[in-house]
Symmetry: C2
Amino acid sequence: MLKQPPVVREGDLSLLVDLYELAMAQAYWSEGMDDTAVFSLFFRELPENRNFVLACGQQNVVGIIESLAFSDEHIERLESLDRFQPEFLDWLRDFRFSGSVYAVPEGTPLFPQEPLLEVEGPIAEVQLLESLVMNYVHLESALASKSVRLTFAAGGRPVVDFGMRRTHGLDAAHRGVRAYRLAGLTGTSNVLAGLDFNMPVYGTMAHSFVQACPDEMDAFRIYASLYPGTTLLVDTYDTRSAVDRIIKWLKDEPEVSVGGIRLDSGDLAAEAVDCRKMLDEAGLTDIKIMASGGLDEYRIAKLCSSGAPIDGFGVGTAIGVAKDGPALELAFKLTEYASLPRMKNSPGKQSFPGPKQVYRRLGTDGRIAEDVVSGRDEVFDGTPLLRPVMKEGRIIEGAIAPLDDQVKAASKSIDTLPERFRSLDPVNESPVVISEFLRALQRDTLERVSKK
Amino acid sequence: MLKQPPVVREGDLSLLVDLYELAMAQAYWSEGMDDTAVFSLFFRELPENRNFVLACGQQNVVGIIESLAFSDEHIERLESLDRFQPEFLDWLRDFRFSGSVYAVPEGTPLFPQEPLLEVEGPIAEVQLLESLVMNYVHLESALASKSVRLTFAAGGRPVVDFGMRRTHGLDAAHRGVRAYRLAGLTGTSNVLAGLDFNMPVYGTMAHSFVQACPDEMDAFRIYASLYPGTTLLVDTYDTRSAVDRIIKWLKDEPEVSVGGIRLDSGDLAAEAVDCRKMLDEAGLTDIKIMASGGLDEYRIAKLCSSGAPIDGFGVGTAIGVAKDGPALELAFKLTEYASLPRMKNSPGKQSFPGPKQVYRRLGTDGRIAEDVVSGRDEVFDGTPLLRPVMKEGRIIEGAIAPLDDQVKAASKSIDTLPERFRSLDPVNESPVVISEFLRALQRDTLERVSKK
């Protein structure tokens, strides 16, 4: 019986690869095809309800690339597949990525045809990275692209991640929090991720605690004494009577410190209005009202626009699985090999060959006026978004900012979105212009490959 | 600057917990509340398009539970949160789960109100497991519940997982494959997962290989020579002309071994019909046609019912993120504490108190006739689905079958689904009956807690 490991070990990431990458690598190797290739990670279309993708993970993935290697044990396991030649396995044993990576900063809003990252290097080496890079970047970008919408809907009110139980696995539970932080969320319930990614960790009680105590008030008393300023969960049995009893209790014992109450079911708007009124009339204006329970950006927007007196939101499922858009159609495409532009000609899949740059030009209002997607060596007005982060297989010193700085930069970058792109509804609009050079290159390349 | 680990380490899983679990554990500890609690993992509703959940992961999660522990480093990190008392941290330092787990076999189709697993033990210990258990089981159950539908649609034709690039992170890419195998998929493109979970690994070439070669035919020749019986990707430039050239080539060089072609874009049904005709007319009836590219159960069902001559399917995004139902609304609820049944009374959230059993009764046709959800100690006709897998914190010897046996049992279990539940459309029907005892317990408990 095989041992089935509960989590993927960092040292095993080189085997976390699609078989065809290895098959192609062996074919390149056996044919002596070792010229430089450029692969571009981009998307042709947005998920249905999105106006942009918040690109995350594309800089940090180089941390994995730099250390990727095949151990003797990996080689033995690959041998067992009976598909690889001993000399190719020797090549794998010596494998360290020797190429370059260009990436947009963490937390950059992007539009169709704009690369999140480009990888350049000997073709077999880059090919081997495809699935791992796509997986790594897709997770964070999918979760960030969803969760940033929650911050738009909440209009400045704190939004806290409660999603660990719903994210797809342990890696998503953990690294998703990095994406939420880049997207502007306020905190997380997830202890390890909060500690690892320097995000405030929140959480007080579940219904189970209230249910286990002899009486709801016992639960509240225990918490207020252990955790002064705590938030009490009030909907286990009956929300209004719970709040009523809290009010009486705080009247009798004014030294008790309660910071807030949390509503987790029912008509949140109506409950919030009633609870606020009860609390205010008792002079407890400092007690905050938090809401959770099946919230997404639409429900939050509705709660906010209805004027519901809710001070913050806890969100789980919606952001944990990026519920209405769990997949971004990221493609990792060969765009140049041996100095020749490359593209395929599959129906309905428009792409542009060659290494690229994206120039983002802001208007006088500080918002994105135009993005020019150009050849890498072209020069346009604006800020070039793709920046070198890895060269000759090593992370470029200082090229990747510490996470706290990335978060600040991401926040500024999100602020450059024109107001209409912050809408929860699709605007079906793009600021992207393709340069004349790229258009010509596409025509020429199409003509060349169609002669084949 | 914090080190930001690229993957979660197995040894750190004890910190992969929602803060409120730790807060509640400290509260239970400080109050001396250490009676036995029963928590039940179940769901009240199915995702929109589903007729059942294929429960996976609920037995295997005990592998994680058994080894869960807090190291000195973990304790230090928890100290930094400034929320925990030294004596409670000592309690954590000594923590090893000492309770019991009951779970249904891996790959069991379940319906609303049927527990996937129940955990029993000192309340603080069980509470600590909540988020980890939910996350672990949710991943596999969500992906299995989606991917089993692909096998229904394909009606016996092989379906291969191509989804690594889309799954939410590395853990999902890896452990998802275990779920696909339990759901009946034929293979995976993912090397590490295929090796770890003993599933055949498939994959030949991407468009990039064809594009990098001087000519499409070069790509095909290289592959046929390196990988006899290979499957050639034919849609990089023009599918029909690629197939035309393959036919001429195999006519000229009959010793060349090509096993199949893969279509990855365009009108797959029409392309398959044309290619099959071309191949058959050339006497190449043995060459199989594989299809991929944005496939899901609906597209596969349509292709199959249209009679498209497709021999197998590669599926990525649809199963990788369980696209139309990425989240199952799993709940982990306290149902008993200190021998008293427990439940909450939140609006619209029906649940039943007390430890449970599910008796599955098959009809004479071998299909599910009725499931009785009962109290744990009740006895009904049929097979009890919840079985003890962990006792006193240790996995019960022999209680968890090796994966190969789990897969066989899952296949049989899936076969017990009445035909209508295998429909891709919702049947809005459930074979579940709640026992009289549980209904009475619910009434009594509601009455008791509403007096609070």
